[in-house]
């Protein structure tokens, strides 16, 4: 029933709004919460409980318990008691089969109790095992909260914002406001956050409300859920003024509709001008809670009995109901008819944020509460959260006795009764962390706000140990439930694209991820693209390669120390292939090194290894302090590889440089202009045909690619992607680090012993390689081919079978259109590393025969490359 205007009401009675509840309009005012609007229209049952489907009504009206959770505009598990109304908002109950008033699943309350005690799912529904999917389906439908609409898509926008402040005050009550005012008066940049629903009384500084601090993380990072925005605060100082939480009493019937906490009643009357009941009983443990009698009088509720637990001892409290609604309270036998029971066992400081950041928690036996202590630097606590809750009685663990019937709930969210807790302890789960996990007390939506302290009191009584010894469970974020959308923020994926990326898409490229790069897999026809490189001319974008300029008087010495190869004797404008190893002798990366002059080298790395190699180079120089400078030009230079019999003719058309085989030979480097762009030409050949790799400033990417496609049109030029490139390089048995090698592979086992120059004094990995050479290798990387008749291509990672057991693995395999057969690379025992040796591979449901080839499948002499 809506009362006349109350002095502190939030309502704007000039602005009526309408809430659609179960499809029917319910009248409300701006300033109402959805819960207060429904209550005002007579709704008393707001949800059905998790396991037993018992009717539940408003309890706390502060967004802490789970009793009022409904689905609002398609979003499940919204606490309507604090959710502001919006005109036309659609509200539906959840976890019911039937209606809130008549939930068919309530049979579990009547009948299911004996079958579903605490931890029942650890002992039942196990055999027969094949029926588990059926059990699971039943359980998931029978118990739970709201359902997520899987087709909702991105229906809401969530942003993330970062702020730095001198002082962040969490909690806008009296103490929080005073702390904010004081900090502001000192000239500090202060922000205060409050969860609502009461408005903050004053504006000493910037106020964010309603906004909930999710946790306090390292570095004084406090993420605050402020509706559609997650605000991440970094604060020099955090003042926690989160107050203390009213605690329920434990007695049979303590979950009936009509049993409420004082704060809940206060809000109904003061904020939303609603009469909370006709006739009330009040049981309170402290002065503040007793004050609810005034609110009740103002609201026109008859107060039939007041119990001050500080002066009156009670042995038994029983609440009786009809169809889940409170009708009567029995206090030590005295029967009082009523429809409202305001019951509170005192207030527990809301210390969780402090505990998260490292504060200790101690039990105060006099007042029966846990109090935070030993706060770390930069964190302060003020007000009730420090334990300043006034004089209060310590309630009994439960107010039932032997033989009292009716469920007495320790955890209302999870439907855990006092009997469940006793049983868990009897089964041996007698430490609080174990008991919590077994019973699930404090693991529901309230996260222990209303059940942690009462359950500890219960454990203490049942195990006959003092509360101080029992302790509390670890407090972890999030302190309040937070939606994943708020945490996720905006859906942006950091992707790297080359400067020619969009031209590839124009040309029909199928784009794939390699590491953080977006690259063309192919342009629609990988075999044809590979064929074009052999027959005429292909062009591939290799801008993703890592590129480094290494220069200085110690440049050569630096590279000598890092690589097993020799570089000191390289002539200017020549290129060498290099394999980078770890100090354990393992292959890390490979690439080319071009010497530009005495003191300057141009190093390339694999695309996905670029960042690692650059960091590796910088790290070693941080140790050695050589006179060398390493500059990362990976993004500064775009690169393309033009390859095929017509490559030279293309180059003639694009540059003035003499590109005859004599003037620009295999493994030469030249600096010139190509298509008008300043370019470094590297004559190398990953794909096995006459080819030129062109490196030039990235902004000219599209310009140069367009020139190549235009000038190469009558030469049969065709862009090719990563997939045809893989076929081509496999024909030459050019390894891909990370594909054909793994973290164990070294230069010797990977069949590249010539890379290692043993006569060098020292280089990274030398000692390890010496050990390998001495002890021998146990596997070798070889090429293999399949006989024509065998259908299919073996899986990469597929097994090599030796004597009926796994004896190696396949690293790469492809059908080669040029060669007309399946080729690949595999790790095999060294004894099999002989040309023509045969071995078995697991494929086609059985085993097939493969033949080792130690030299490249295509053009083994390298005539094409050097032409």
């Amino acid at each position: 029933m809506r009362l006349a205007e109350q002095p502190r009401e939030l309502l704007d009675r000039t602005q009526p709004v309408s809430v659609l509840f179960r499809g029917s309009p319910v009248p409300a005012f701006a300033g109402d919460s959805i819960g207060s609007a429904l209550y005002g229209a007579g709704q008393r049952v707001f949800s059905r409980s998790f396991k037993y489907h018992r009717p539940r009504g408003l309890l706390c009206c502060s967004g802490h318990c789970a009793n009022c959770m409904m689905t609002v505009d398609g979003v499940p598990n919204v606490r309507v008691c604090v959710e502001p109304v919006r005109n036309g908002v659609r509200v539906e109950p959840q976890n019911v089969r039937g209606s809130l008033e008549n939930d068919l699943m309530a049979v579990t309350d009547k009948v299911g109790g004996p079958f579903t005690p605490v931890g029942f799912y650890y002992r039942t529904m196990i055999r027969p095992r094949r029926l588990w999917p059926l059990y699971e389906k039943f359980l998931r439908n029978a118990a739970g909260l709201g359902a997520v609409d899987k087709h909702a898509g991105r229906t809401r926008r969530f942003d993330t914002e970062n702020r730095q402040v001198d002082t962040l005050v969490i909690g806008g009550g009296t103490a929080g406001l005073a702390a904010a005012r004081e900090a502001a008066s000192r000239g500090e940049h202060v922000v205060l956050v409050d969860e609502g629903p009461e408005p903050v009384a004053g504006q000493p500084c910037e106020v964010l409300a309603p906004a909930r601090a999710i946790g306090i993380y390292e570095g004084n990072l406090v993420p605050v859920d402020a509706g559609p925005t997650l605000v991440r605060f970094r604060a020099g100082r955090i003042v926690v003024a989160t107050g203390a939480l009213e605690q329920p009493l434990l007695f049979p019937g303590n979950d009936l509709v009509g049993v409420m906490l004082p704060g809940g009643v206060r809000r109904l009357v003061d904020l939303w001008s609603l009469r909370p009941g006709k006739r009330a009983v009040v049981i309170a443990a402290d002065e503040g809670s007793l004050g609810i009698v005034d609110e009740l009088a103002r609201g026109g509720t008859e107060v039939a009995r007041v119990v001050d637990l500080r002066s009156e001892r009670l042995g038994r409290i029983v609440a009786r109901g009809r169809r889940g609604h409170l009708v009567r309270v029995e206090l030590d036998g005295e029967r009082i008819d009523c429809d409202l029971l305001v019951a509170s066992g005192g207030r527990q400081p809301a210390y969780s944020l402090l505990a998260q950041v490292g504060a200790r928690v101690e039990y105060d036996a006099n007042r029966g509460i846990f109090v935070p202590t030993d706060l770390p630097e930069g964190i302060e606590a003020v007000g009730a959260v420090t334990g300043d809750v006034g004089d209060a009685a310590v309630p009994a663990a439960t107010y039932n006795g032997a033989g009292t019937k009716g469920k007495c709930f320790a955890c209302i969210c999870e439907d855990v009764t006092d009997k469940d807790v006793k049983r868990a302890i009897a089964e041996g789960f007698d430490s609080i962390e174990l008991a919590k996990r077994y019973t699930t007390v404090t693991m529901g939506p309230c996260q222990g706000k209303l059940c942690h302290l009462p359950s500890i009191r219960l454990y203490a009584r049942e195990t006959e140990a003092p509360e101080a010894e029992i302790g509390t469970t670890t407090a972890r974020p999030p302190w309040t439930p937070v939606s994943l959308g708020v945490l996720a923020g905006r859906p942006h994926e950091p992707a790297k694209r080359t400067s020619m990326h969009h031209r590839h898409k124009d040309l029909g490229a199928k784009v794939m991820w390699t590491g953080a790069w977006r690259r063309p897999h192919s342009y629609g026809d990988p075999p044809a693209e590979a064929k074009a490189v052999h027959d005429s001319l292909g062009v591939i974008d290799v801008s993703t390669l890592g590129k480094l300029i290494v220069r200085g008087p110690d440049a050569a010495a630096f590279l000598e120390r890092l690589y097993p190869n020799r570089y000191g004797d390289m002539k200017a404008d020549r290129i060498r292939y290099g394999v980078l190893g770890t100090d354990g002798g393992r292959i890390m990366d490979d690439g080319t090194i071009a010497r530009l002059d005495e003191d300057t080298f141009y190093v390339t790395t694999t695309s996905t290894g670029a960042d690692t190699v650059i960091e590796w180079f910088e790290w070693w120089n941080a140790v050695w302090h050589l006179d060398v400078d390493v500059t990362n030009v990976t993004g500064a230079l775009a690169a393309v590889n033009v390859a095929g019999p017509n490559a030279r003719e293309l180059m003639r058309r694009l540059t003035d440089l003499d590109v005859s085989n004599e003037a620009l030979s295999y493994l030469d480097a030249r600096r010139t202009h190509v298509a008008g762009a300043p370019t470094l030409i590297l004559r190398i050949g990953f794909v096995g045909e006459l080819g030129y790799e062109l490196h030039f400033p990235s902004p000219f990417g599209v310009h140069v690619l367009d020139a190549i496609l235009e000038q190469g049109a009558d030469l049969g030029v065709r862009p090719f992607g990563l997939e045809p490139q893989r076929i081509l390089r496999l024909e030459k048995q050019h390894i891909l680090v990370g594909q054909d090698t793994d973290s164990e592979s070294n230069a010797l086992s990977a069949s590249m012993p010539w890379i290692v120059k043993w006569d060098k004094d020292d280089f990274v990995g030398k000692w390890s390689l010496e050990q390998v050479r001495e002890r021998g290798i146990y596997e070798r990387l070889v090429g293999f081919e399949l006989a024509d008749a065998i259908p299919g291509v073996p899986l990469e990672g597929g097994q090599v079978v030796i004597g009926g057991r796994p004896g190696g693995r396949i690293t790469s395999a492809r059908w080669s259109p040029e060669l007309g057969r399946v080729i690949g690379m595999a790790w095999v025992p060294p004894a099999l590393a002989r040309d023509g040796a045969e071995f078995a591979i697991k494929m086609n449901g059985g085993v097939e025969k493969a033949r080792v080839r130690l030299s490249p499948f295509f053009d083994p002499e390298g005539g094409h490359l050097r032409s």
């Binding site: 905006r490 400067s499 790069w517 002059d597 993004g635 230079l637 600096r671 370019t679 902004p699 990417g701």
Partner: protein, 179 residues
């Protein structure tokens, strides 16, 4: 010192340069004109209503960077140059011009600070800095009360443009041209 012209944008002969934000601006319907060898988006339809405006200023920037530190400059005809120097150790004279490796965008107009606060955790009262912006490395430079420039790896151009324009959208911002 050996010829490192292949790094240099200035060493081009009649090759047209595009910033890595080019296609994004093309998709927004921009008009392009050639400025100093670059194809520049000089106007974007609807830019009058985009406050703050997100602009591509890649063609106006130069970066020399290395272990010793960095020097970043923005020069536009008829406007005051913006120059930022940061020295970690050693001499800034030996730095290489790696402008080809970076792109730059400007967030300008009321709300720019809030847009940037939605892209980075960096303290915007302590600029210029180089740090993490939208999961990547960027220089953040302030050149006015509500005007900032970001300089970052050009391979992230497409991505950072998307992040900036998206962050600006609910605040009334959007793409603008660089006349």
């Amino acid at each position: 010192m050996t010829n490192l012209d292949f790094l240099s944008l200035g060493a081009a002969r009649a090759a047209v340069a595009r910033s890595s934000l080019h296609r994004r601006l093309e998709d927004a319907g921009a008009e392009f004109a050639e400025r100093d060898g670059w194809l520049v988006a000089v106007r974007v339809p609807g830019e009058e209503d985009h406050v703050p405006a997100i602009r591509d200023v890649t063609h106006l920037h130069r970066v020399r960077e290395g272990a010793a530190g960095a020097v970043i400059e923005f020069r536009a005809p008829g406007r005051e140059p913006v120059v930022v120097e940061r020295r970690w150790n050693g001499s800034l004279d030996e730095l290489l011009d790696v402008s080809a490796g970076t792109a730059a965008l400007q967030i300008e107009g009321p709300g720019a600070t809030q847009v940037l606060a939605r892209m980075t955790e960096l303290d915007l009262s302590e600029l210029p800095v180089v740090g993490q912006v939208a999961h990547t490395r960027a220089w953040v430079i302030r050149d006015g009360e509500e005007s900032y420039r970001l300089v970052f790896g050009q391979e992230f151009g497409h991505y950072l443009w998307e992040v900036a324009v998206d962050a600006a959208e609910p605040l009334g911002g959007g793409p603008g041209g660089t006349p």
